[in-house]
Symmetry: C3
Subunit: 374 residues, 3 copies
Amino acid sequence: MSKIMSHADDTLATLAEAPTSRRTFLRTASLSAVGGALVACGKDGGQSGAQAQKPAAAVPVRPESGQTGGTMGAHDTVKPAPGALSAADAMDAMHEKGIKAFPAKTAVYGNQPFEPKIVNGVKVFEITASEMQWETAPGQMVKAMAYNGQVPGPQIRVREGDRVRVVLKNQLTQSTAIHFHGCELQNDMDGVPFITQPPVKPGQSFTYEFTVPNAGSHMYHSHHNAATQVGLGLLGAFIVEPRNKAQEPKVDQDVVFILNDGAHGYTFNGKSFPATLPIVAKLGQKVRIRYMNEGMMIHPMHLHGMHQTVIAKDGWPVPAPWKCDTLNIAPGERWDVIVNCTNPGTWAFHCHILPHAESEHGMFGMVTALVVQK
Amino acid sequence: MSKIMSHADDTLATLAEAPTSRRTFLRTASLSAVGGALVACGKDGGQSGAQAQKPAAAVPVRPESGQTGGTMGAHDTVKPAPGALSAADAMDAMHEKGIKAFPAKTAVYGNQPFEPKIVNGVKVFEITASEMQWETAPGQMVKAMAYNGQVPGPQIRVREGDRVRVVLKNQLTQSTAIHFHGCELQNDMDGVPFITQPPVKPGQSFTYEFTVPNAGSHMYHSHHNAATQVGLGLLGAFIVEPRNKAQEPKVDQDVVFILNDGAHGYTFNGKSFPATLPIVAKLGQKVRIRYMNEGMMIHPMHLHGMHQTVIAKDGWPVPAPWKCDTLNIAPGERWDVIVNCTNPGTWAFHCHILPHAESEHGMFGMVTALVVQK
Amino acid sequence: MSKIMSHADDTLATLAEAPTSRRTFLRTASLSAVGGALVACGKDGGQSGAQAQKPAAAVPVRPESGQTGGTMGAHDTVKPAPGALSAADAMDAMHEKGIKAFPAKTAVYGNQPFEPKIVNGVKVFEITASEMQWETAPGQMVKAMAYNGQVPGPQIRVREGDRVRVVLKNQLTQSTAIHFHGCELQNDMDGVPFITQPPVKPGQSFTYEFTVPNAGSHMYHSHHNAATQVGLGLLGAFIVEPRNKAQEPKVDQDVVFILNDGAHGYTFNGKSFPATLPIVAKLGQKVRIRYMNEGMMIHPMHLHGMHQTVIAKDGWPVPAPWKCDTLNIAPGERWDVIVNCTNPGTWAFHCHILPHAESEHGMFGMVTALVVQK
């Protein structure tokens, strides 16, 4: 059975279930390589790494093999430039600090499961758009526009054929409207001011109601002054499960992964590294990831250690699934992939436009991890 | 039978055939949502929208159902900040003005059908490159380089196996040459100065002649100082229909959709919103769209209300058609899609890099509409 | 049998085998269009082009046919603006100079075949990271970080199931580490400082050892301060041939094509046009190209004259090969294509983001050629 919950909940639940505190998680999962002993724990890689901590002496790489080719003697011949080591240490310390902080706690998470009210069989979602301060990383406060106080807005999950009502209340100081991106709705529910409806002015409400059409990983977001409003956070996932569940791949986790790159910086689900949430899975689990790009730039998402199998584009199953490790997501696109968690460890997972993920001060922005627990 | 004509002609013909003036078209199609009554006309969506025009009172959303969950009471509890409404009104007025102007008339349209002279069985196209002023939107004049006074240049349509002669006359103040992008020509017809031919200097002519090879949605454009010349307009569609028409999907309209993002701003077929031309189709029609990116940036093209089925890449049929609503088009690429016009209404159709499509002043640039008429 | 060697070697070997000097190659292949006579040598295109050199008189395009439609009379009616021709000539001279210089010789080439030491059945690759000056084009020296003095680093080719040891020596003034991008290694060999290993500090070494997993076109590069280090050159190809060679397409050449766009400008395998190396093939040969994007931007790679058949994404065979002439490569992606060299001549081959390939001063950056020799 698929566990369907928000990414934040997945992570917190996993950590709560496990006989470990969050602090322990960090130590065992994310920071498993920090400290001299930790890198020596691989199955057959014990010959490596720890020695890098001991630059003062040549250390045989595989003492048991006695091969001269395996001797690390670089430090015998290489003399770092004066000051190089301390400058390198200073840079490394910044990098280490960021990774040690991961996953850094922030006050509020977006993309929370949205439980509708059921009114005469209609699933009713009440959404209020308002301005607020949003914390993208610890202490990093940005101006936001948010649905129900979350960036991304709460995650809507409905089923093909459901009757759905979305009541939008506008508490912003500018007009707005909601477009259900990817849903093939009747025209007057399409959410484009002056084309399909009037703008929803400050203080006003607007009700969208429809029978849910095509299944898939869709989005809801502002379609008014949208370069600004979506950039500031008026966006969320609108997942439509197919009427026939047998069509769906069986997965253990179903994760929504919204990319953005506007005024809030480079974010995954509204957070920047180290405040991004890792995906935590057990060895052997299947994870479905639903990428959604709400930004202005492409983001080629690179997963370490395991490949991604692409199963759907914009909610439509692809004719034949295909594999990759780096999936390019363009603005407005959604791509669904399956990751078979066959490789234990903490795996970097990031946008491969490197300036979106790392600077001289360490990792930031579009970085998270897939943690595969044995 | 496929109606093969330019996009501008399609639109104008449709408007001419219909018992409506252009002004009426605007009112009924593009602006159907403007005014209090218009958004209440959906089949089963009549409960929504109109109320947004009446912020002073709580209005039951579905009077006939009497559900309290359906009551819009936001304006009872929300108090806009002082001045917010007027600022919002001012912004909305700019947005409305742009949409009301669509499709705004400009003096000259590019991508017009190009009738060859037939000389002893050879299809002869005479193309003059010259500098001119080009109107991208009403009153928005830009410096252009154009083929036969059009941006994009006139649309060439030939058939596999045709003998074609293209006579280029250079009336520019710099040299130029034509590359038939995507056509697998013999080397000396490839149009790259100093590699396959000399540059065609100001005042000179050059004649390309070849038997048309591979079918598909190709392009012709300058390959000399091309970052400048293509950016300024020396580009056009070069469509090659297959020898065996049975290979082609049967469609009612065949629309060329050229994207550009250079010195002329963000344009579709040389025009910026609101001067872009809508695609106007009848309910049930099939429209083939041939996207061609002549710019420097990706443009993920998002169609509202209906999906796009991808049938060809760079003129080559894809092994298995696949569906999407947002198709990422990179520079130099061509993608052919089919849209089944099953959903009536006026549908926004735009690049989903939002700053290419909307600002605080309203929609601009890479925005048009697909109008599906009942 | 596939000839597996570096691109530089391919080219040099081809030129060495052929009874021509490098100078002759330039004249016959790359510059075959320079000079009035050269463009008149096509099989059935002899009617064109040469006349463009003679603006003073109307010249029948096809004297043998006597068609008036074939008469070039542009120069009778067109009068260039005063000074236009000389300005155009000056621009053309810059363009010609660049193309005449191609392929311009530079001191050192990257991506050279990397012969491992075999130690007790283990393939051992010793890699030293150091700072150096790198020549991207004749006289164009840039600061680089390089593996074994090459940008890209030496090309590693191993086979699925091989036991491989990579000994990294850090002679930089900052820490580093190697990530084997695309290889599904055990976690402690993944090369991400503070997540899977400590940083390798200046003067230190680190040994990676593993049994080679999934086949495909992979990369090795720094994963520490990587936006800087990869931008400066710490990257290379890591090709894994499948255990079962029968799975591989039979090709005559196997070319690695690494794209970068950082501090070194727009480069193919570390070089900018005119210092990029052409691919030189014989008519009828099949060439496999392994594109790898190590930059920050997309690069849609456009080949003139022939199409590309896509066979793999990130090392994974695609479910059904598909054809294109312009293939969009995003950062971190690898795409494998086959080109059937069926069309003789020198063909431009470039990124189709035109400002990455050409300026008013001529071609530069991401331009090379595929030369198909009869």
